[in-house]
Symmetry: C2
Subunit: 300 residues, 2 copies
């Protein structure tokens, strides 16, 4: 299919123009044929590849290793035009099921220590293809930012014997000022000291360290919250470009009492400049209470 | 002065439209008058303010403190049109002298634990005003990224009893492949595993933890290297937007054997997206050896 004059490799009918699929939900037809609702394929230009071994070695004082891993694209809908907010709850649920299935499959590879799911939406947020998709990168190391969260959450747990994310939810549900949305299973809230304007976190209400343990009720609730949140963002911020990223415990870790999986949604509204690169601190002009109020009140 | 139809508060003649200067190098006239070569003023819309005390307090499980600090603008030239690469070596030297003077002055305030100098050049790199300038933010805490460098460098020193930056310089000068420029006092090199394409670090060759201890010879050499590096970037990358940031030891720390001040120059060529925000890792398609070769060979 050619849309807007441009060939789209993610559209139905073009299945043979992509690497062979690793997962698809479809009725009828065989693999790499049309008829799918969600389709997962290896990235044609992967950051990491599954082949080979890590081959850690020194180069004088430096260390290097081969980039073993996986880089896959989750095509979220056959409809070229639809954005995440346009999709039905059922369709979004299928996307999260696909993510869960891929996590469980990739987890079997002992070399892969972390699976990071993320979405880039819109060109300013780093997306090069219009057709709605998210991605996963499976890594042979724990990402730096996740390790920092794991370490911080562990220190908090050692001190308090409580999960810091559960505590955040409890305190913020009580005050209500930073809550955007809630169901009995999932909460969306602007964190107390967000890096970015309108940064919003989506968390399961019952403690859980690993996303891939989510059951049908939780994925259903998550899908409703993500759909509603995206529509609220689209309304309040006029269809902003955005990124989201899913932080879960490392796949080979046992159930962790101190860590709590969550999704971080960041609309791309401001430029990151010298101060942020140099300090690792972020200047954020929008208080989270204000962002949460706007989002809470936006009817969708 | 109105340039290109727009009023510029940094141009000579408009001194009274900015907050009163905290430092200027000038011949004749009095403060806040024309005739300056470099002028330092408080930022009109500061991220932090000098007034008040830190007032650390809890809000349930969260902690907060008042944003005590300073945010200043270093106007690098009276010439509205000139970019850093257009300035004479003498003029750039004056800019670094102004930075050094401001560091020594702000250091007297015991509440301020860190002074971060940085430059945003071009709109995609976060600059809102065209007239060439850099900035400083003085903070009541050590920036996260600097603390990580301090900790990492300390661990290396404990292991090796050598400064990791001195070791990098030694190894890279020997191989030469990542070196962009060198004088007998300063080196510019692409680090071994850079986050960004064409990321380049500028370091003094003799070990020094604090930028503000630099002497006249070192500042002269630094200015020549920064001018040449900027011109090479302009040539190879066609006048890219860029950020640079100066990392120095915390002002109240004694001389540190394990830390080495340096300037990180980052042309803004790629978009930071979900993977980078989520992982703290950076996908960089350009090997530093290739970037260094391009820059080394660019005649300016």
């Amino acid at each position: 299919m050619i849309r807007g004059g441009r060939f789209c490799p993610f559209c139905p009918g073009n299945e043979l123009k992509t690497p062979p699929e690793v997962l698809a939900y479809r009725n009828g037809y065989g693999p790499n044929q049309p008829g799918w609702t969600v389709r997962v394929i290896p990235n044609k230009f992967p950051a990491l590849r599954v082949e080979g071994n890590l081959d850690r070695q020194g180069e004088g004082m430096y260390d290097k290793m081969v980039g073993v891993g996986a880089h896959e694209v989750i095509i979220e809908t056959p409809d070229h035009q639809a954005t995440l907010g346009d999709l039905s709850e059922k369709q979004i649920e299928s996307v999260f099921w696909a993510m869960r299935d891929r996590a469980l499959d990739l987890k079997r590879d002992e070399r892969l220590r972390y699976i990071l799911f993320f979405k880039n939406h819109g060109e300013p947020a780093g997306s090069s293809l219009e057709h709605s998709h998210s991605q996963l990168i499976a890594l042979p190391v724990i990402p730096k930012r996740v390790q920092e969260e794991l370490d911080g959450a562990k220190r908090y747990f050692e001190f308090k014997e409580r999960c810091v994310y559960c505590d955040m939810e409890r305190q913020d549900l009580e005050s209500g000022t930073r809550v955007v949305l809630e169901t009995d299973r999932v909460i969306a809230m602007c964190p107390y000291a967000p890096r970015f304007p309108f940064e919003t976190w989506v968390l399961p209400r019952r403690h859980a360290s690993h996303f891939e343990t989510a059951d049908a009720q939780l994925l259903e609730s998550l899908s409703w919250v993500m759909r509603t949140l995206t529509r609220k963002m689209d309304k309040v911020l006029e269809k902003p470009p955005y990124n989201w990223v899913l932080h879960s415990a490392p796949v080979h870790d046992p159930v962790l009492q101190h860590y709590h999986w969550h999704l971080e949604f960041i609309p791309k509204l401001v430029k990151v400049a010298g101060f942020e690169w140099g300090s690792g601190f972020y200047l954020n002009p929008t208080p989270p209470e204000e962002a949460a109020k706007f989002l809470r009140e936006a009817g969708v």
